[in-house]
């Protein structure tokens, strides 16, 4: 029961904040990992704080931080701050 593949040519456009294809955002996780871990080296941060530090949209940072969390690079601090945000910190890994 395979779906027919569309072969419509895609559109290329200049980056529009908030409108990137999910697949493209997710693909950047591997690239953004280094930058996010660098900024978190200074201490735990919320998603909006990380986004400001790496100068990328918060919803994209959400994908990357949750991906890094899923694969054991970062972990949340259990308490939510007054604004309703969790803070995330680097997880010490073997060889890191």
């Amino acid at each position: 029961m395979t779906q027919a593949t569309e072969t419509r040519r895609p559109v290329i456009r200049d980056a529009v904040p908030g409108r990137r294809d999910v697949r493209e955002v997710v693909r950047d996780e591997q690239v953004m990992r280094r930058r996010i871990l660098e900024v978190l080296a200074g201490g735990p941060m919320t998603v909006p704080e990380i986004a400001a530090a790496v100068e990328r949209p918060t919803h994209e940072v959400m994908f990357w931080v949750m991906g890094l969390r899923k694969y054991g690079w970062v972990a949340e601090i259990k308490e939510v701050d007054d604004d309703g945000y969790y803070r995330y910190q680097v997880v010490e890994r073997e060889g890191s």
Partner: protein
Amino acid sequence: MKGTTKYDALVVGSGIGGMESALKLGDMGYKVLVVEKDASVGGKMILLSKVFPTLDCASCISTPKMAATIHHPNIDVLTYAEVDGIRANGDGTYRARITQRPKFIDEAACTGCRQCEMACNVAVPDEFNADLVSRRAAYIAFPQAVPKKAVIDRAGISPCTGACPAGIKAHGYVARVRSGEYEQAFDLVLEATPLVGSLGRACYAPCESECTRGELEGPLPIRRLKRFIADAHYGRGRDGDPEAVAIEQNGKKVAVVGSGPAGLTAALQLARKGYGVTILEAAEQAGGMLRLGIPAYRLPNEVIDHDISNVTALGVEIRTGVRVDDPAGLKDDGFDAVLVATGTHKAVRLRVPGEELDGVRSALTFLADVKLGKDVGLSGKKVLVVGGGNVAIDAARSARRLGAASVDQVSLECCEEMPAHDFEVEEARAEGITLHDGWGIDHFEGDGRLQAAEIKVCTCVFDPDGRFHPEYDETQRDIIACDVVIVAAGMRADTETFGLETNGDHTLVADPGTLQTAVPHIFAAGDVVTGPTMITTAVGQGRRAAFMIDRYLQGQVLDPGLFDEPLPVVDKDTVLARQQVYDRREPLESNAVMRAAPTDFEETEGPMTEDEAFLGAARCLDCGVCSECHACVDVCPADAIKLDDRPVAIEAEVGTVVLATGFNLFPADAKPQYGYGRFKNVITGMQMDRLLAPTRPYNAVLRPSDGKVPDNIAYIMCTGSRDETVDNPLCSKICCMYSVKQNQLIMGALPLADVTVYYIDVRSVGKGYDEFYQQARDMGCNFVKGRVSGITETEEGNLTLRYEDIENGGALAEAEHDLVVLAVGVQPSRGVAELFAGNGDALALDDHYYVGEVDEDLDPGRTNLPGVFVAGAAAGAKDIPDSILHAGAAVAQAAAHLERARVADEAKAKVPS
């Protein structure tokens, strides 16, 4: 499982309806085959948080059924498999064609440890988490997957990798660079060839020509990324291969004649397998054409030295200044096999008058002399280079650097048709070389010493059959004064003394698949077989030759099909269709520095910075999904990665078929007024279920836009159901109750959150359902009767809902929420009817494209095809209890069908013939 197998029943799909059908049939003693397209059984139920109205944990009640299905003695389960077609045999039985998709994992060995997943370098949206987070190309579907085995998502070979004649995993090392794993990237290239640095500079990069990103803004800088990783590796003083000490020698010896790309590559591969390898090189220095033919401004000698150290570190001995005239005779020196990889070092003559004059020389000896540091005396001379290929360009640019007063180049072909690459022609022109394209040499003039060349217009280079046969306009001529002529009219193999069969162009005759010559222990590879070609082609030949020599010396059959055996290359259009839009990411520009009058052999192209490498690699589209970076291979403790896995065709004879293909969720973006996909805080009911599940994608229920804990959540009921505007007038039956379930779970997880449900009417039909609904109201959930007409997004990412407030006079009202959940309805699973295409009678669907039942009320589960039954939501929207009940009905029908057939067979057997 291969070939044709026989079962009583085939169950298509392994959601709750499929599992229930299989288990009941299995319990009755029937042999059942379950085919599931995903990597785990369990369907959608296993992905839910809890079930209504009991609020039992969905995982807790699903996993026992999943395990029972997999381990039942009467049930065989094929996961990650597709039913391609089901054909009626005419006697109430069926023959199913099934494809077991390759998982690229040895399931028996895989322990489900997730090490492969943790190491994988390719991230894609996780469909099992409703695309809220990433998964990896190597993955286990979800934590409770049954079987809990990894699969590797491979759409095919990426076009870049598929284009590399050397067999280098281009996508793989790009993915490694993207993850900052430079040493591992180097090692991946080293798996194929020792020439990491040389290829990073001098390869003509067929990978880039095929890069799918080239269909957008331009290809990735794949070659320069290879240079980057080589520079990083060698820059750390990491010459040589650390694996050398671990190689166990097998006692056999192989002679490799020639130390060019084919010879060095074969030597590396053979040394890794434990052979004692000796390279015999006629020149003073090793490296073949890399050393002697490519100028230092493109490929410095130090880089070649570094690359060769990868070979010598494995114990390979290189003897230079040793010319081999009789390869077969090397057996007498104790070599068990010989590889002839001597290249094409003999220059082809122009055969024009005056070619014997002092001052006319071949480009090959000229370039070799220059590279070896000999004085070629060009200072102040007028130089004419003859030829239109890359060697000619190299000679011309080298002459320019050696102080020639002028450098002219004559090419038979016009500029657009010259064999040299366009960029090389441009670079030559930028360095002040005067190109006379479309001209040929008539003769050289001089009085013992060269003085000039007379040229004439070339009207045609090749005959209609494509053979080299230049024709000239003898009336159009010119004279070019010159002191030195460098002829680059071609090169050929020097094989006259070898005693081996040769072709008309002096190349050796060798089997193209095995590279074995007529003398069994002599193999041949590289340009000496193919004629002059690219470095990567020679590397690929070297790899193939080493593979075959190993098999020959191990007494194994030389089967060309066993070498590499790649998957098909993934189609670029298929790759591009994965996204509707692509953000523009301009390719990295060349940093080659062109000088009008270069005076040294400094490299023209500079190295990449780390940031450039990162950005360059980040443009990769992961065409094949899996990049073949081998990170999973490196870390798997069970040695379970099986990249040579391939699809397996299976045929099954079955007595009955149960279709349990489930349903699809309504695509929420088909209601654009709700902004799904545009507004980050508009999510679907399934996404909320994932956020509430114990194996959730986030650490809590959070807004996808920014990770904030929501405190004012809205539900919009009947999204895509009971809605003629999207061609679905049906009630989906489950949306009301799953929303009520989520309401209660949210109020438990987020006690301070407000929950508002916008509904038409709440349908809570079922045992305990209405009480469950009332319980949500009592807990504080706010139910507002009114259909939402549209949503807008505020600057903070909140959502303003416009709705008709029916209970307050029908006035239009607005309300702001910080998270909106669309209670999406269900749609039929498509493609079921196509399974029966080609049969006399088609599988009938109902008016709404669900699998049709002959009589839903009196004969549930029976389709129009004898022996084919439908179970669960494949026949229409159902909740879990109803799916299980319906599966029971379908199973009873299927069992009755099987029993009728059995009784009929027995009766037939009793009739005396």
